[in-house]
Chain length 212, copies 4
Amino acid sequence: MTDKDSLNPRKQPSQPRSRNTVAVILEAAAQVFSSSGYAGATTNHIAERAGVSIGSLYQYFPNKNAILLKLAEQHTREGLDFLDRIVRDVGPSACLDGPLIRRIIEAMIAFHKRDPELHRISLEELPIFKHIANGAAEVEEIAAGFIESLLRNTKGVRKQNLKMAARLFVQTVDWLSHRYILYETDVVEEDVFISELTDMMARYLLADPKTD
Amino acid sequence: MTDKDSLNPRKQPSQPRSRNTVAVILEAAAQVFSSSGYAGATTNHIAERAGVSIGSLYQYFPNKNAILLKLAEQHTREGLDFLDRIVRDVGPSACLDGPLIRRIIEAMIAFHKRDPELHRISLEELPIFKHIANGAAEVEEIAAGFIESLLRNTKGVRKQNLKMAARLFVQTVDWLSHRYILYETDVVEEDVFISELTDMMARYLLADPKTD
Amino acid sequence: MTDKDSLNPRKQPSQPRSRNTVAVILEAAAQVFSSSGYAGATTNHIAERAGVSIGSLYQYFPNKNAILLKLAEQHTREGLDFLDRIVRDVGPSACLDGPLIRRIIEAMIAFHKRDPELHRISLEELPIFKHIANGAAEVEEIAAGFIESLLRNTKGVRKQNLKMAARLFVQTVDWLSHRYILYETDVVEEDVFISELTDMMARYLLADPKTD
Amino acid sequence: MTDKDSLNPRKQPSQPRSRNTVAVILEAAAQVFSSSGYAGATTNHIAERAGVSIGSLYQYFPNKNAILLKLAEQHTREGLDFLDRIVRDVGPSACLDGPLIRRIIEAMIAFHKRDPELHRISLEELPIFKHIANGAAEVEEIAAGFIESLLRNTKGVRKQNLKMAARLFVQTVDWLSHRYILYETDVVEEDVFISELTDMMARYLLADPKTD
DNA sequence: AATGAATGAGGCTTCATTCAT
DNA sequence: CATGAATGAAGCCTCATTCAT
């Protein structure tokens, strides 16, 4: 059908058994994508790793892309939860000072550490489907919104265009910590890196960039 | 296993005609990779676009990867030339102030504009071959070295660890301008973006971050 | 091999509810076969259209073929009923003159119009199962028998071999009207076509072929 | 590509070697389609039977349909040649009398005998692709044109609408002889059948239907 | 009886690569 | 050196059918 090229899930798993199947498939896919990259992963391999027949896989996912997308979505959701937890910890009226920036950066790094390879695929290989609403963009949006609202609470902010400042903040921190985790952990000490990045962001945003 | 997985060119094109063939193939490959991505591109399509038989293509490239790699190398080389020109313009004893930062950023953006799709592939799809020395790393190294030497000439630099500062500078500017060109040109005005990025970098590096 | 390739219904639906289920499935199958052809139709699609689980479908039909076959059988039965009605209308001692030929042809066309697609499938796709007794042959036989008996009542018949004449009559009328309904309704006016076909048959069979 | 669903040949075989390959594939396809029907035939089976790799098959045919179509086209062409020979034999100013009708019918039957199974597929299974220009329609058109021109030369023709008469003639003869060859050779003697059909057509068309 | 999740053989097709000419 | 025909491993995916609940 035309379904084959769509990315929508094929069938909502209603019974517990099938919900489990979907979960198992996604878990296996995460492993396979992580270890083989997107191109190297095959649906058969994923199904096998999941201990599920290839037919079952295709009951719930119209194609390989859709699996990766779902995975990215899930990853996205976890990212949002991560943010949410920070937001709640910080409270609604917190303001963005040096220490909070550091804390956010630390959290970001911790998040990237969880499954760097999968994150890499989401970040570096998912854009292959440019025309597709990329879940990552959504987290970025929300994260930026969160930062922006913090900035709004904060007095000594250098920037006028808070929206843009917030987005650059998020993009920069995301990318640099991604690179750090993936390629540079043994070039630079982690706390050195964190301090450096914190400094960069604090000075970018704050009139009084004390970072500790 | 002997040749098939190698990435070295099969045969050094010595005669002018073959050099030309290689160039034609690479140009075609650039177009095809740009429009179809790495996975979507086929060697037959490249050969056809180049007006060359598939057999000839394999005379000069042992496999598909090698083509992309050569292309990336070329891209790298152009990046280095770009740098070189700036270095020469700026002179060996220049120091990094706000306006120079802006100029570098502008150059970076101009460079990314030349063939953003190809750049994207180098950046986002080349990591597929993780085991392969990524030419991009080399440019980054050199670029960072260049920035570092500028910093060394400069008086009001806030940073101690110049090497690291330089690398973060390069990575940040590279990535953010890449994203900007690829995904955000119609979200933000170019000069606004440039000013913002310049400001960020100037404040990160300079004690007296005047940027215009 | 025991059941899977059989074409007999798995279980005689004795209770009213199951009889209804069978009917619902057949109706759905008719629609799906009509719109997708035999190969394009899937059992799942049929079951879904019938509002019945795939499991239930297989409770009553051993395989996909059996469904089409049952449908064809049903179609056959309707064809026979059609004939029967004409026979009864015409009466046992009628003789085949031009007007009656025209009437038979009109009835045939009306019959073909009811579900031309399904008729097409029976006629054109059912032969896929060559080894299967084709119900269509049966109707043809009976129809031919009917025509033959009419011929026997008729005085001015040109033919000796009435059996053969009757069969040719039936085959010709059936096929030509089938083609007409399916492919040529907008090439020729219906009454023109009917007159033409009537003329052909009348002249073939009757010494005095007045057709109106 | 979008090519996959097209029916156009993929690549014109230019060298003798490839022309041979195409011929071999078509021959094998004819056999396989004949013995397994359209649905039962697989591209792999065809390639194997042709002693050719599956890849080669797909160099020249975008999909299974295209093969059948080509085959039907070929069959069509042969049909046209058949006609052509008769036309030439008969001469341009011949007129359609009983003996000529008989001769045409005999030729038609001979033609059907050559590969009845393949003919059956063309006739009964090809309509599966209704939306596709059916080559069979073309032969029919040409054949009808031929008959029409004969009718034009003939004096004692009963019919006004020669175009329609010619088409009915062709359709009737084609279908009845097809059925005869496929299903009824052992029910009726061939010459009896021929005489009968000749009689039917002669009386339909001619004022003076002497058929021998 | 009904449900619908699960199965998996097997079809179609691609495309990097080789090789005969 | 060039050509382009040929190769075939391997991927994606379907769908008739079974089976646990």
